[in-house]
Amino acid sequence: MNRIDQRFAALKAEGRRALIPYITGGDPAPEYTVGFMHALVRAGADVIELGVPFSDPMADGPVIQKACERALKHHVRLTHLLEMVRDFRREDGETPVVLMGYLNPVERMGLETFADQARDAGVDGVLLVDLPPEEADLMGPVLKERGLASIFLVAPTTSSARAATICAHGEGYLYYVSLKGVTGGAAVDAADVAEHLAPLREMTDLPLCVGFGIRDGAAAAEVGRVADGVIVGSALVNRIADNADRPEAIPAALEAVLGEMRQALDA
């Protein structure tokens, strides 16, 4: 059983919700990322989404665009991200890690090479924002053979026919995008989320996790009442941006933001 499935099974047994932080690998510089990941775990992360920096992050708002730019200034590439995960695994063999990003860096490395190296590094899942299931016929089997979960997005605009396809292909968890827009956009509307999650529950047993627009503990708690997990990205990346010139302060800042969400979610 993959670490992601194990973690969600354990959470379900405890009646708890998953807390899934996102940070961009290599932001503000590559030597800090592994320390940040451990800080997130200390603050209660159940799964870590590690963003692969890309020159053209079309689905991201300014906060994560700038995070990509900071990382790319240090020439951070996918191979470095895999090294970071390998480093992280020396101390943490349990927390699932999902690589999140865009298709081109993966294609450039080569699907099989990427999948081999990701498995060896200790990656558990892959979420490529610009790879919908229709185009994933090459990627899917390559990941599956190596025990890596293919994680897909569902949006408020997704038709029920498409949602069925996505549920059939998805593994690990479903990432429900709570609003029309890019990351770091408007605040989440929990009632609207609940309405959209209900039909998905009928289609799949996959955990339903919600991201986009979750900025604080109150929002996390509200979404946690209807979802199996909450995903938080820009709120954390903002703390990294604020402290980019004194990175030693970042772990505590991340722990403060995520810790508040953990408490609210478990309350």
């Binding site: 053209d56 300014p62 865009y102 490395m109």
Partner: protein, 404 residues
């Protein structure tokens, strides 16, 4: 029987041109693209829609555009007869309007009150702002901050037309970043917004519908060639950035095996220097950007490369997926013209024929200067003069050391 007949049956239902094309977008946009696909499938064979499109092209754009024999220039080049397909004479001054007329009709049919566009040189932005003004649609145009600077005239034209021009400061501040920002806008405002993409790239069905709307260029050129010199041309030449004007000229000739085609990319400082925008001619790796798989200039780590070209309209690291396939199957020869050769062609056509071409189109002319002398005087080349050069006067003046 043409050995290229299969090419006219593409893309397949999923928008693939062989290994290229497709629909690589975030999930929120999938429904809008499926919707557009259905709307277009219904309308493309609808005689009323076609009649409205043809009527607009005739009475608003001023089609057909002439096929002009550049006799003096041909004589000077000392070889084949060069004919210019005068897309520069269209309303708004470039081929871009053929597509924006078509997509604006689709926007109108889908009842969306707002259109957005990306633009490089500003020609597509102007064409979009123009049709938006005419149909009473709100219009926002994304343009790289660097391009806003080098194409000031077109920026002001768009503003006069009532469009809001939004400078894009992210990334390389050129066309690709404008397209990123337009996609971000669309994903946020997808309910009331129609995205008018300006080239034969982007997610399916855009490469197909932009091709179809621009193919009027090639259909006319075919008929006009027969009228003017009694047969099909020996060669076609067009510049290629994303590739919409080349696609428009080439597509109706794709099964005419005897017609040799040249797509001319932006060689910048020279393909060997790495400072260029020629993914096909430089044999760039395959990649995925802006919703489609194609040849894409990117580094070892898959980060998209900076590009360089004197012409903002060709300054793009990718290329339409159908061109990528045409390169692989050998239907079209893709070459590059360097900035200095382009400027020379720009000046020469202006002096010899009294026609000032856009710097984009001057790439095609630069290759005509190479090709024509290798051919006989009884042979014919059709060059797509895709746009007029007024917008580039400031750029050329600056190179001449003149501040206007």
């Amino acid at each position: 029987m043409s050995k290229f007949s299969d090419l006219t049956r593409l893309p397949d239902a999923r928008g693939h041109f062989g290994p290229y094309g497709g629909r690589f977008v975030s999930e929120t946009l999938s429904f809008a693209l499926e919707d557009l696909d259905k709307t277009y499938a219904r309308l493309r064979d609808d005689p009323d829609f076609q009649a409205e499109f043809d009527h607009d092209l005739a009475h608003y754009v001023g089609r057909p555009s002439p096929l002009y024999h550049a006799a003096r220039w041909s004589e000077r080049l000392g070889g084949a007869q060069v004919w210019l397909k005068r897309e520069d004479l269209n309303h708004t001054g470039a081929h871009k309007v053929n597509n924006t007329i078509g997509q604006a009709l689709l926007a109108k049919k889908s009842g969306k009150p707002r259109v957005i566009a990306e633009t490089g040189a500003g020609q597509h932005g102007v064409a979009t702002a123009t049709v938006a003004a005419r149909l009473g649609l709100r219009c926002d145009v994304y343009m790289g901050a660097e391009d806003v600077e080098r194409q000031k005239l077109n920026v002001y034209r768009m503003r006069l037309l009532g469009a809001n021009v939004i400078p894009v400061e992210s990334g390389t501040r050129t066309l690709k970043d404008a397209m990123n920002e337009a996609l971000r806008d669309w994903v946020t405002n997808v309910d009331d917004t129609f995205y008018i993409i300006g080239t034969v790239a982007g997610p399916h069905p855009y490469p197909m519908l932009v091709r179809d709307f621009n193919s009027v260029v090639g259909r006319e050129a075919r008929r006009q060639s027969v009228e003017e010199f009694g047969r099909l041309p020996d060669a076609l030449i067009a510049c290629v950035g994303g590739g919409s004007n080349a696609m428009g000229l080439f597509y109706p000739f794709v099964e005419d095996d005897e017609v040799v085609m040249y797509g001319v990319e932006a060689g910048g400082d020279g393909v060997a220097t790495g400072r260029h925008a020629a993914p096909l001619a430089s044999n760039a790796p395959r990649g995925v950007l802006h919703g489609n798989r194609t040849y894409l200039m990117s580094d070892e780590g898959g980060q998209v490369s900076d590009t360089h070209s004197i012409s903002a309209g060709l300054d793009y690291p990718g290329v339409g997926p159908e061109h990528a396939l045409w390169k692989d199957v050998g239907r079209v020869n893709y070459v590059a013209a360097n900035d200095d050769a382009v400027l020379e062609a720009f000046r020469e056509l202006t002096h010899v024929e009294g026609i000032m071409p856009a710097l984009e189109s001057a790439h095609a002319l630069a290759h005509a200067k190479v090709l024509a002398p290798t051919m006989r005087p009884d042979q014919h080349i059709v060059v797509n003069l895709s746009g007029r050069g007024d917008k580039d006067i400031l750029t050329v003046a600056k190179l001449d050391g003149i501040e206007l």
